[in-house]
């Protein structure tokens, strides 16, 4: 199931609420980001938040394969690396959609039941890790999962750009291809993380400030 499952995980049509999210683009645009700076935003995210996201998902995937399944350390480490409250809330909202899908696919799988045992809603990387661990249904390798998370991050920005900074949609494919070296190093960094303590905490202060501003904004298209 691996290769197909990996494609499903990174597919924006996966019905888990991804269309409500711009991966930080709408807050950035509100702060003045222009279309020509989208590649720079992609690079910035690939070197900061995307590494943490992908590494968190990989740690959750590995946790899901152990008995008993314990996600708390990953969940706590992730939350500590999302200092702006709206970022944690949005991650939990997006994780909720992934959790709902995992429950539908394999409600009694230990990797899924352990999500409900967390004290709070699973953050999105944790839910992705659980979903990716569903062997017969959705099983993926750590590398496939990290690629899917990073790919999803890039495509989320690119798709939201079509709404927020309209231009030729073909441009966005070129943006993603140009971002490939940074995307590959984000995946490598994520795979190298072995423990929740080692989860990278790369600060992205502007991203955090924009997320705080966005949470107070009324006329928005996207959750974040």
């Amino acid at each position: 199931m691996g290769a197909l499952a990996a494609l499903l995980l990174g597919d924006g049509r996966l019905p888990v609420g991804g269309h409500t999210y711009s991966a930080g683009l709408e807050p950035a645009v509100a702060a003045g980001l222009t279309r020509d700076r989208v590649p720079a935003l992609l690079r910035a995210r690939l070197r900061t938040t995307a590494v943490t996201e992908a590494a968190g998902a990989v740690l959750a995937l590995r946790a899901a394969h152990r008995t008993p399944v314990a996600y708390e350390p990953v969940q706590r480490a992730l939350a500590a690396r999302m200092p702006a409250a709206p970022q944690r809330e949005v991650s939990a909202t997006l994780g909720r959609g992934v959790h709902r899908l995992a429950r539908r696919l394999a409600p009694d799988h230990p990797a899924v039941t352990a999500l409900a045992g967390l004290g709070s809603r699973p953050l999105r990387p944790v839910a992705f890790g659980a979903l990716g661990a569903l062997g017969a249904v959705m099983g993926v390798t750590a590398a496939e999962l990290a690629h899917a998370v990073v790919h999803d991050e890039l495509q989320t920005v690119a798709a939201a750009a079509l709404k927020l900074l309209p231009g030729d949609p073909l441009d966005s494919v070129a943006w993603l291809l140009a971002a490939r070296p940074d995307a590959e190093s984000a995946v490598e960094l994520a795979l190298a993380v072995r423990t929740p303590d080692g989860l990278p905490a790369r600060a992205a202060p502007l991203t955090e400030q924009w997320a705080l501003d966005h949470a107070r904004r009324e006329r928005r298209l996207f959750l974040a």
């Binding site: 049509r13 888990v16 269309h19 909720r96 959609g97 709902r100 009324e218």
Partner: protein
Amino acid sequence: MPDHENRPHTHHAGRPRALRLGVAGPVGTGKSSILAALCRALAPELSMAVVTNDIYTDEDARFLRSAGVLPTERIRAVETGACPHTAIRDDVTANLDAVEDLEEAYGPLDLVLVESGGDNLTATFSPALADAQLFCIDVAGGGDVARKGGPGITGADLLIVNKTDLAPHVEVDVAAMVADAEAARDGLPVLALSRKDPASVAELADWVRALLVRHRAGVHVPTDPGPMAPHRHA
């Protein structure tokens, strides 16, 4: 099952969960006014909540809050990423989250109204989100709208021909428009409505009450009016 989400018709304790009624229809046909009218008529007897989907987060929610027909915290708006049709049909995640949050905070609820962002004639609710749906068109959109059809017009549980009080001003024959709609709907009900005609509003409220009775009795089966019909942008 660890939760109630995979059992669409029962609540935690086996009580039927709230009826989820979708309200769809093109922009400007009066969906928000219908929601306000339903809240005004039914909130005294039912525990209700509302979810709105608009292009920008909360225009419709603000309209309803300012109408004062329901406690403001029972009216939630969801972001649709500029995809209102996706949010009620292809990927209902954000709306399900909002409905479940309202049930958790104020439940048990009797009725949750979900208003679609005004889209075109082809956007209808997935049964994964709405147990039943109203589709709203209006006389000001032209007398031939009902004849043009589309999944909402032909298949919604109730079709509303709204703003009948404007008919003389736009030279539309309401009776003919209703007859066209009935012909397109193969026996499904059509209601000519005006917020200035209290009898028509009472008829709408009665239709919802009767639907709620069927929902609670477990005999109402959600039906899908159909997917987005092929449409051209000529």
